[in-house]
């Protein structure tokens, strides 16, 4: 065995380990979510999907509040996407195109907002939201999610716009475009796949966010808040079904966007 073979064995070995570490829990959740409710308690578990059933998922989706919570979650996510793209994409564009005083500092501050744990912010936020009439309101939750997603959206869209050569926009400007129409006609269409990826990732951030959502709502629960709330009183199979339902959008997202994400983070 030469050094190269050892190297390869190590690399592939670690890759397989990492993959298993991520895949095995997902797989077990999937198995339990799609077996009959009582099969969850069977030991030893069959590791192959021999006896699939949608019964557990049906029970989960039909329990009180789940459908409403799903709708709430979707509404919150959509508002979050719209707000964070409207606020974040222009900031990202500015970071990518212009050198302005305090550009470095701005980039740092954008990241620094990530340093505040939501746990610390949530109580004052709850108080403020009660005063503003935003408490137990999906708009309030959306605002918090927007604040959480913004640093990500700004930095990713900056990367996306930096990937669209400035000379393309300048060429459009010499051909009769204003700065704004040059952006609309050239930069925007070319940045669209990247912006879509940022939007979908924002969706996942909002969809998965549980802490702010549970603190700031009472009856207008989003799905994670509801599941967290229901966790203690619900049977095991319900938890698996909920877990599967929660994790699905992220997996679908990664599946469709993986090549783009690799470009985004590995390529630049």
């Amino acid at each position: 065995m030469n050094a190269r073979t050892i190297d390869r064995t190590l690399i592939y070995g670690s890759a397989v380990l990492l993959a298993l570490w991520v895949i095995v829990p997902f797989y077990l959740i999937f198995l339990s979510a799609f077996s009959r409710p009582n099969d969850v308690f069977v030991y030893p578990k069959p590791l192959l999907p021999t006896d699939l059933s949608t019964e557990t998922m049906q029970i989960f989706l039909q329990s009180t509040g789940v459908i409403a919570a799903v709708l709430n979650s979707i509404a919150v996510a959509v508002i979050t996407i719209v707000l964070s793209m409207l606020l974040g994409a222009p900031a990202g564009y500015a970071l990518a195109r212009f050198t302005f005083r305090g550009r470095q500092a701005f980039q740092l501050i954008v990241l620094a907002t990530k340093m505040f744990p939501v746990a610390i912010l949530s109580i004052p936020l709850a108080v403020a939201f009660v005063r503003l009439g935003l408490y137990d309101n999906i708009v309030g939750v959306s605002l918090v999610h927007t604040a959480m997603a913004l640093p990500f959206v700004i930095l990713v869209t900056a990367g996306v716009f930096a990937g669209v050569s400035n000379e393309l926009e300048e060429a459009a400007m010499t051909l009769g475009c204003s700065r704004f129409t040059a952006f609309l006609r050239v930069a925007l269409p070319l940045a669209l796949p990247g912006l879509a990826a940022a939007a979908i990732f924002t969706f996942v951030i909002s969809w998965n966010e549980v802490f702010a959502a549970s603190i700031l709502t009472l009856r207008q629960r989003t799905l994670p808040a509801l599941v967290l709330f229901a966790l203690q009183q619900s049977p095991l199979y319900f938890k698996f079904a909920g877990g599967f339902f929660m994790v699905m959008p992220a997996i679908v997202f990664i599946f469709f966007m993986r090549r783009y994400l690799l470009n985004l983070w590995g390529g630049r």
Binding site: E167, E170, A171, M173, T174, L175, G176, S178, L190
Partner: protein, 351 residues
């Protein structure tokens, strides 16, 4: 009909001056080349004409009789070819060429007609429905030129349009551009760092260095009468030879040689540099003593490097030259072809 007039243009990037009080006039229909090493400000000057950079201070830019100093690029009636070509990747060749016409809201039949003409001018007809990613570098470059030409703007600006092509293609594209210019006669400003391109294409060359135009004259005039040591060294391949020395007793004395000044009146003791082109030097029985270092046969001629004292001098000799390395030779040349420069400033001395 539009010439370009640039008056006292200064451009600062932070505390760095990219252009220092530059004035330049380009005649209507002229092909003017901005030539200089990277960082000399030639691209910045072009972008100031295009309106992609705003000039600082009181500088003014005129196109034709219009003061365009504060106009946006689209209002300046210019067309530009970029170094990266800047061909829009999400549009077909036809859409690329017609983009400017669409932005100017020309009627559809006219756009179609002019796109066809533009494509024909650059032999792009077979590729009209292709996307840029399906084209070679040379084809993309032609798309960029066609897109600029169909605008019928009186002024055409080109920023190193050939620098991304391989050597063979560049030769071809150079001739194509020159032919195009003869056909369309637009006022053209062409930026390059390649002195061969500048020599072969320009009606005039403006040589730039450190944000200043050091000489702006027709190519052969610049070649034969460089305004400074920098210009002589930048233009021509091989570059001009330079020999340093001092004026003493009516002669020019350098490292192991002395040349009569031939009636030129230059004060004794002045330090000068003699500039002479490689093709002006011959091997002779007497003259400047030198030692042959290398002989490089180049096909049409031989390039011989000799040492005059500690200075390397390039001599263009016939390809059948008999000189050999380490041989002691003598160099002869007509002083009428020599240029004298001041040793400290590097500027030509009119003696």
């Amino acid at each position: 009909m539009a010439g370009i007039r640039i008056e006292n243009v200064t451009k600062m990037f932070g505390k760095q001056a990219a252009l220092k009080d530059v004035s330049l006039e380009v005649k209507d229909g002229e092909f003017l080349v901005l030539l200089g090493p990277s960082g000399c400000g030639k691209s910045t000057l072009l972008r100031c004409i295009a309106g992609l950079e705003q000039v600082d201070g009181g500088g003014r830019v005129f196109i034709g009789d219009r003061d365009v100093t504060h106009l946006a690029p689209r209002a300046r009636e210019i067309a530009m070819v970029f170094q990266s070509y800047a061909v829009f990747p999400h549009m077909t060749v036809a859409q690329n060429i017609g983009f400017g016409l669409r932005m100017h809201k020309r009627p559809k039949p006219e756009i179609e007609k002019r796109v066809k003409e533009g494509a024909a001018l650059l032999s792009l007809e077979p590729f009209l429905d292709r996307y840029p990613s399906q084209l070679s570098g040379g084809q993309r470059q032609r798309v960029a030129v066609a897109r600029a030409l169909v605008m019928d703007a009186p002024v055409l600006l080109m920023d190193e349009p050939l620098s991304n092509l391989d050597a063979l293609l560049r030769l071809q594209a150079r001739a194509d551009l020159k032919r195009l210019h003869r056909e369309v006669r637009r006022t053209t400003v062409y930026v390059t760092h390649d002195q061969v391109e500048a020599m072969s294409m320009g009606d005039r060359i403006a040589v730039m260095r450190d944000g200043v135009i050091v000489q702006c004259e027709p190519p052969m005039r610049i070649y034969d009468h460089p305004a400074s040591q920098f210009v002589g060294g930048f233009i021509g391949s091989p570059p001009m030879n330079f020999l340093g020395g001092t004026v003493k007793d009516g002669a020019f004395a350098g490292d192991g040689f002395s040349l009569p000044l031939g009636g030129r009146r230059i004060e004794t003791g002045r330090q000068l540099v003699l500039g002479i082109r490689a093709e002006q030097i011959d091997f002779a029985d007497q003259g400047l003593p030198a030692k042959v270092l290398v002989v490089e046969p180049l096909g049409s001629n031989a390039l011989v490097t000799v040492m005059v004292g500690k200075t390397a001098v390039k001599v263009e000799a016939p390809v059948n030259t008999t000189v050999k390395p380490d041989e002691d030779v003598h160099l002869a040349f007509d002083l009428a072809h020599a240029r004298w420069m001041d040793a400290t400033s590097g500027n030509a001395v009119d003696a």
